[in-house]
Amino acid sequence: MSRMSNATSKAMSDGMHPLCPSRESGQPIVSVRGLVNRFGEQVVHDGLDLDVRPGEIIGIVGGSGTGKSVLMRAILGLREPQAGQIDVLGLNALTDDATQRRAIERNTGVLFQDGALFSSLTVGENVQVPLKEYHGDLPDSLRYELALLKVKLAGLPADALNKLPSQLSGGMRKRAGLARALALDPPLLFLDEPTAGLDPIGAAAFDRLIRTLQQALGLTVFLITHDLDTLYAICDRVAVIADRKIVVCAPIQEVERFDHPWVHEYFHGPRARAARTTREAAS
């Protein structure tokens, strides 16, 4: 690995995931336009627009009940919105076309809040589930090694492979969930409150893990969080949901200064000051 070639090709210009649109093209990897979500009388989103740029970690914040998870579920096709257009990797996410849906599912990884591991399967079997589903022709030994690799990439010890989810701690379950989300090397990763319920040290380690994996695997990360430390530590841009829309989507320094009562409250409360001080002390 010592020598570097200067041969380049268009597909590997900047270490991005191969299926990702390149950064220069200016094409978003996820684009949401005019999204409307209603539960009965209650309107959660009303004309929400959002672009996720390739290769970034975008943090989604908002008060409880503002529809962060609903937005993620709509993008993932788990929920049909009342109106709007959603494109993921250049494909229409709201289509009924089974092959297109499958292509999107194949190329997105999701970490649910508590890992959502299949509780009757071991961690290793959990990670192998998507591999079996999409690449059933892989030899067993290779599939096993891939699962082992993903488990270790997610920062778990090798012997966690044979454990059941119920035998793991909350933090380890999240890592195992991350390993399963990464099983197919997806270009796009969705994380729903990855650091919720972790102790501060574990949360910081998980933040670093996400950053490292994002850089190593060239991922684009859509991250829902309440954790201010995560926002300051790893997010390239932060999108704030309030008043049923994205009120601002920009790097965190700009978002901090944005004039909106909720944003002000969020970024200038006591916890935000603490997070900012830590961040400044570290850098």
């Binding site: 570097m4 191969p18 292509a103 030899p139 270790k152 990439l153 119920s166 090397d185």
Partner: protein, 372 residues
């Protein structure tokens, strides 16, 4: 995604130096099979591999190359990767080393061990049931001293669920079984000219056995499983632990209301079952055996003895206790996983149905020997 710009993985020998290989194409999960073939056919005696021409690389590609290097006894630094792949390669290289050992063993001794464990587990389950019976009874007695512990609302709620809601099912089943018994019995009795004895056949069998047995079996399937699933779901979501830490007793809160509800409702359902079984016999008698209802009822009035009814009804509370205790105990033994809830539910239905039938057989022998 169907990707039209990708090329399959390829290995070529360098023209200038034969011990040097050039890799190109896509080394990704979609081409895993072809990567395996390509690496399998790679020439030996390699001392440098140039992977800078690889267009696409993911963790599968790197893993396959690592495996190839291990097999061919190469140091991993014979590979040269493109700059943009460095981060990926080093991330994977860092973690691809040790592996866990397989756990499960096979063979005679392992089979014996599993058999021993199964026997031991069964014994423990039996002891747990007996222990649970004692614990529940003590806590029931304590309730008389401290009536505040009694939960009337929960008890009534369960009475509705296990009793009232089961009435249509129990009634229908018993009516049909009563009709079948009358019909089959009459077919044989007709040969002896003793068709009228169908009345005794149906009334004795339903009062003594079928009424209570059918009810208990229906409730074992319907209620024991519901108890296990309800309590099991609470255990797996740590709700039962929450109850304990709030200073309440899960036995008072969850088990006793269910047990009392079943203790009250199973005898009542048994009574309904008996009535509908007799009605089944009556209907068959009227419509296909030429025994008019007046005659049927008069015959029943003459021949029926109270002791049959009491024998049947006496078994009901015992079955109620058994079904509710097994259902609740299995629920409390659930461990964490969703699969465990399912296993325990199955086990509670199997245990309660078989225990009901076994106990019923013992009752039959005992009552017969006692001349009741």
């Amino acid at each position: 995604m169907t990707d039209t710009t990708a090329h399959p993985p390829q290995i070529d020998a360098d023209d200038a130096s034969p011990s040097r290989l050039r890799l190109s194409g896509s080394w990704t999960l979609d081409y895993a099979g072809q990567i395996g073939t390509a690496l399998g056919g790679a020439p030996g005696g390699v001392d440098a591999i140039d992977a800078t021409g690889v267009e696409r690389l993911d963790s599968v590609g790197v893993l396959q190359l690592l495996r190839f290097a291990r097999r061919a006894d190469l140091e991993f630094d014979v590979f040269t990767f493109h700059e943009s792949h460095q981060a990926l390669v080093s991330a994977i290289e860092d973690v691809a080393d040790d592996r866990p050992r397989k756990k499960r063993e096979y063979g005679v001794s392992a089979a014996l061990e599993r058999l021993g464990r199964a026997v031991h587990n069964n014994w423990r389950e039996a002891m747990a049931l007996v222990g649970f019976l004692g614990e529940t009874q003590i806590k029931l007695l304590r309730m008389f001293k401290e009536p505040g512990r009694f939960r009337p609302t929960a008890t009534v709620h369960h009475m509705e669920q296990v009793g009232l809601d089961a009435v249509p099912l129990v009634a229908l089943l018993c009516f049909l079984v009563g009709a079948v018994v009358a019909f089959l019995g009459a077919n044989i009795l007709r040969d002896f000219g003793a068709q009228i004895f169908v009345v005794e056949l149906v009334s004795i069998s339903f009062l003594r056995e079928f009424g209570v047995l059918l009810t208990a079996i229906v409730l074992a399937g319907r209620t024991a499983s519901a108890f296990t699933a309800q309590i099991g779901a609470m255990v797996s979501r740590e709700e039962v632990d929450a109850i304990r830490t709030l200073g309440m007793d899960p036995i008072d809160l969850l088990v006793i209301p269910r047990m009392l509800a079943l203790l009250v409702m199973l005898p009542m359902l048994t009574f309904i079952a008996m009535i509908f079984g007799l009605l089944g016999g009556l209907t068959v008698g009227a419509y296909s055996l030429d025994i008019p209802p007046q005659q049927y009822l008069a015959r029943m009035h003459e021949t029926m003895e109270l002791r049959h009814f009491l024998v049947g009804l006496a078994k009901a509370p015992v079955f109620a206790l058994l079904i509710s205790l097994i259902g609740c105990l299995e629920g409390l033994q659930v461990e964490g996983t969703a699969q465990s809830v399912g296993e325990r539910t199955t086990s509670s239905v199997v245990q309660s149905i078989s225990m009901v039938i076994i106990l019923d057989a013992f009752f039959a022998i005992w009552f017969m020997e006692m001349g009741v």
